[in-house]
Amino acid sequence: MEEKLKKLLSDPERKMNAAEINYLASAFRENMFTVLHERQTGHWGGASSAAEIITSLYFNRLNIDPKNPNWEDRDRFILSKGHASINLYTVLAARGYFPLEDTHQFRTLGAYLQGHPAMLKVPGVDMSSGALGHGLSIGVGIQLAARLSGKKYWTYVLTGEGCLNEGSTWEAIMYAAKEKVKGLVLMIDYNKVQLDGTEADIMPLDPLAEKIKAFGWHLCPNKYDGNKAEDVLDSFKWMDSDDIWPKAVIYDTIKGKDVSFSEGKNTWHGCAIDDEHYELGIKELKAITAKREALV
């Protein structure tokens, strides 16, 4: 691990700035790509697209205590697109929930790092996921609990297109609007590519923003590049700017981000990474990490 990265991770409680998060996310991508290559299983495309969003949450935003993962006042994060598990595990490890070395046991028999997030096995996972379209309902439930108990925590639910293909997500969207559920934030990792093809080919969601607004949600009006920490941090400012609920933010992202041959390709949704592509890809990732490191 680079000295600068070690130094940053030695004080994970500090709210990182955009340059630092960009650097961390890039370094985390290297770890994800390497683990997925080692294991020959897992989902690179959707994990990579969410890197800056998840890193920003855990290193700038969430009120959490890795020493006490079940702290009842903590903010919650639900990775509704559970196939991006290697991203979440890498970030949780870097944040101090478990050793980063453990990420290399991902998807091995007997390991606690299950193929998809499992809350009873992995410290820091607030809700198991994997079957798409479940996260938002759970987020509604957790925030209704906060309403009843008077607690101040928030729940952030990250979905991709897949979750928005599922009818259950729209059930939750309708109900959250009816209840004006406070503290509930829907974050959409909008990379526009699904498993079988592009979103346009498989299940067009556009005009997504208009749909979410029409369903009664407080949608962030800004266009954000979800692969830039500057934009993600700005979206956090927007979340704090008023008390209108529930809130949603759409982040434009790129599936398979930062590995040129995987960017925007549905074929890299969940395929095994062979040696040849690993060598090419990790070289590109390292080059980007070095550039981002120079800006820290």
């Binding site: 079957a131 309902s137 987020g139 439930g141 957790i142 209704l144 108990s149 259950s168 059930e171």
Partner: protein, 310 residues
């Protein structure tokens, strides 16, 4: 005649709400039918009507459960077994969350609405899922006990409720809270193990058999999972013959659970299973509908006699 199970359950839920601030109740636009509206009226802040959206119903409940609440979700059993099952399996059972799933209108009890509303696979489906317990009360009192029992558990519990006013049976409360089969009638010639509302039919069947000189031992078996096979097999060992009765498909349900245990234990005796043999129900008045599909005291008695070669 007993109170309707759903009415008893709904009232008891509202009663327990006074002393259990952690109970929250959710319904999917059928609270007037499930009677969860009684709780909703008493505790409007702890009652959530999510509309006709059973998947969301179960997911929200799982979220509430992770934050320390005790959700009770209510809908027709048929919709919970089929529309909520994704969230029940992934969000509740995989995470072993203490949610109570109250399936109203179980079995044929929504008789006039026909097969679309008749939950006959719920027992089989729910008992297949790890961590889930399955209770099929025999009367209104058992429905109340099932709720109290479920509140002591730290795992998901499915309780199948009946729509209609059906006869009462006597229940040994201690046995119930130990998840045991409840012995209703002592006998020596044949054992009848019945789950749900069929237990009162089995008790009546015992009277019919008595007139024929046959002494039947009858159990009400509210617990399908865990299944108290020990009590049933001990009795069947004594009598040498076992009749099982359930208002459900025979595949993987109550008799299925007993068969699995018997297979593992190497236990065998003469057996007749009464239930739905690979078929759906139909529209009609409840008790005649049950009888048409073999669920009556007369048929149970008749099958018991056939089993005994009489």
């Amino acid at each position: 005649m007993s109170m309707q199970m759903r009415e008893a359950f709904g009232r008891h839920l509202a009663e327990l709400g006074k002393t259990h601030p952690e109970i929250v109740v959710l319904d999917a636009d059928v609270s007037a039918s499930t009677k969860s509206a009684i709780f909703g009226k008493a505790f409007p802040d702890r009652f959530f009507n999510v509309g006709v959206a059973e998947g969301n119903l179960a997911g929200i409940a799982a979220g509430l459960a992770t934050a320390g609440y005790r959700p009770v979700i209510n809908s027709f059993a048929i919709f919970l077994e089929l529309k909520s099952i994704d969230q029940i399996r992934h969000d509740m059972c995989y995470n072993n969350l203490p949610v109570i799933i109250a399936g109203a209108y179980g079995g044929f009890s929504d008789s006039f609405d026909g097969a679309s509303h008749q939950a006959v696979e719920d027992i089989s489906i729910f008992r297949a899922i790890p961590n889930m317990e399955v209770i099929v009360p025999s009367d209104a009192h058992q429905a109340e006990l099932a709720l109290e029992y479920a509140l002591t558990r730290n795992n998901p519990v499915y309780i199948r409720l009946n729509r209609n006013a059906m006869p009462d049976i006597d229940t040994d409360t201690d046995a119930f809270f130990k998840a045991k089969a409840v012995k209703c009638v002592e006998g020596k010639d044949v054992t009848i193990a019945a789950t749900g509302i069929t237990a009162s039919m089995a008790c009546d069947a015992a009277k019919l058999l008595e007139a024929e000189g046959i002494s039947a031992e009858v159990f009400s078996c509210p617990f399908v999972k865990p299944i108290d096979s020990t009590s049933i097999f001990e009795s069947a060992k004594k009598t040498g013959a076992l009749v099982t009765v359930e208002e459900a498909v025979l595949n993987g349900g109550f008799s299925g659970a007993l068969a699995e245990e018997a297979f593992r234990a190497g236990f065998a005796c003469k057996v007749k299973t009464i239930g739905l043999d690979n078929c759906f129900g139909e529209t009609g008045p409840y008790v005649p509908l049950l009888a048409k599909y073999g669920l009556s005291a007369e048929n149970i008695a008749s099958e018991a006699m056939k089993l005994l070669g009489k």
